[in-house]
Subunit: 202 residues, 3 copies
């Protein structure tokens, strides 16, 4: 129940971030919904297609579709006031990537993949909804250009595989890894830490 609540909060945050990007592009109602939808479930969908876990997750649990529909309606109705929610949305989004990372790792373990690939799946689950959103909106994906975002997922995922070797119950390893993803992201944003940009001197 607690798990589901957090998951739904993450979905809401991702969906609303999709609505915000879609509104910048002045898309129509259908376009806004699709962008919100792929932002929220695109990462998990790509993950499920990569490992052959089909029909993909959102097709088997309508709670995601209803949550996204509700979020889109809410975001459109109160679109002039979303800026006051910016901090809450950032927090939901950050909790969301922490949780989604571990969901992806769990799916990788179920598919008996090695740790490196589980971490990749976790990162894909958390980050690639935003990548697909940006491609559909004709932008170079924002996570390729700035901010510690995927890096937090990768480090948190790697921590998980160190933590489960310790003599603690698995649930603690999951919880600690989620906290590590969230912590790295919060610290990076707080102290404006970013990965270096790579280019050739002219």
């Amino acid at each position: 129940m607690f798990y589901l609540t957090i998951d739904v909060l993450g979905t809401i945050a991702f969906a609303i971030s999709g609505v915000l990007v879609a509104m910048d592009k002045k898309l129509d109602l259908f376009g806004v919904f699709i962008i919100a939808f792929v932002t929220a479930v695109g990462g998990g969908t790509l993950r499920d297609m990569l490992i052959g876990n089909t029909p993909v997750a959102w097709m088997q649990a309508p709670v995601y579709t209803y949550t996204i529909l509700g979020s889109v309606v809410f975001a459109i109705l109160f679109r002039e006031r979303l800026k006051y929610l910016r901090k809450s949305l950032f927090l939901f989004d950050t909790i969301g990537i922490g949780l989604y990372t571990l969901v992806g790792i769990e799916k990788g373990l179920q598919a008996e993949l090695m740790p490196l690939m589980c971490i990749a799946l976790g990162t894909i689950t958390a980050c690639f909804g935003g990548v697909i959103r940006d491609i559909l909106c004709n932008e170079i994906p924002v996570i390729f250009r700035k901010e510690i975002y995927a890096t937090a997922c990768i480090l948190g995922g790697a921590s998980f595989f160190l933590l489960i070797r310790l003599p603690i119950v698995d649930e603690y390893a999951y919880a600690a890894a989620i906290v590590i993803v969230i912590g790295i992201r919060l610290l990076a944003v707080r102290f404006k830490i970013a990965l270096p940009s790579i280019y050739q001197r002219e």
Copy 2:
């Protein structure tokens, strides 16, 4: 036989719409063919990957590939005169989305998905070839920006699930739903009805 004829007409219309977009971008022969191909089969391919229906449909029936090859050759040879075919192409395209919507719903039912997901699959089948075409051509997908297109598929799909509850044979429900998709699309274009664009006031 009738079904196949319509299906092939829809494929032709989608392929030629792909050629028209690709020519605007001055792509080479291979690029034009690929854009025509993904416009015609991209939606069904995404659908099949989402539900794990692999190898995807076009790999199992070469009729689609040959139809698209023929359409591309025809469209390139007569490219200066395609404008005179505009009305026929629009009609084929509209019939195509009606049929493709129901093909997608049928595949969803075979995969034992709930009605909401079947409608999503129908809409994906009908509309996402065009979305992939626009992404490959570096445009924001046109169906996110204007016209009643996906909306017609959604409403037609929803009608289908109301109609099959009636005491009529299933074939009639299929046929009626196809007609509803086509009818909504034709009326929307005739009366220039579009979904509202969503954006924040400056």
Copy 3:
């Protein structure tokens, strides 16, 4: 062993071509890695998803991920000098598409697909990593616009299905087809042969 060496050389060439494109866009470290990764394994990944060969190949063999990681580190450290390697990279890339084409065809045969679809899978394996790279970098894919690239894969793939009808051992047909892909590409670049661009007169 020989096979693996060539395969790894192809992966290196593709990964470095990804790094070069990503640097032009001034992406950050994570973005550069992802672009290198999708350039090298994106084609095979799409192929595996289309035929349901999951988990996709790179998830089952970490050699690709390590090779790409090493290539990215190398390419970033020596980025000012990559221009001196241009010829070697072009050669690796050309060998890479030859090999990848036949890998794709082999996977198609294993899935019992007809020759036409095997050729399509070979071409997808060789060329669509670059297509996904260009989409992520917000460019119209370069292979839709210029150079004989996919065409070499298609012709080499078609040759393969002629050659295996001859009374020779299969290995020779594979090797000859790889040489044909490489030869066509080298000749096309040497003599600046390209497919015609298709467009309507104004």
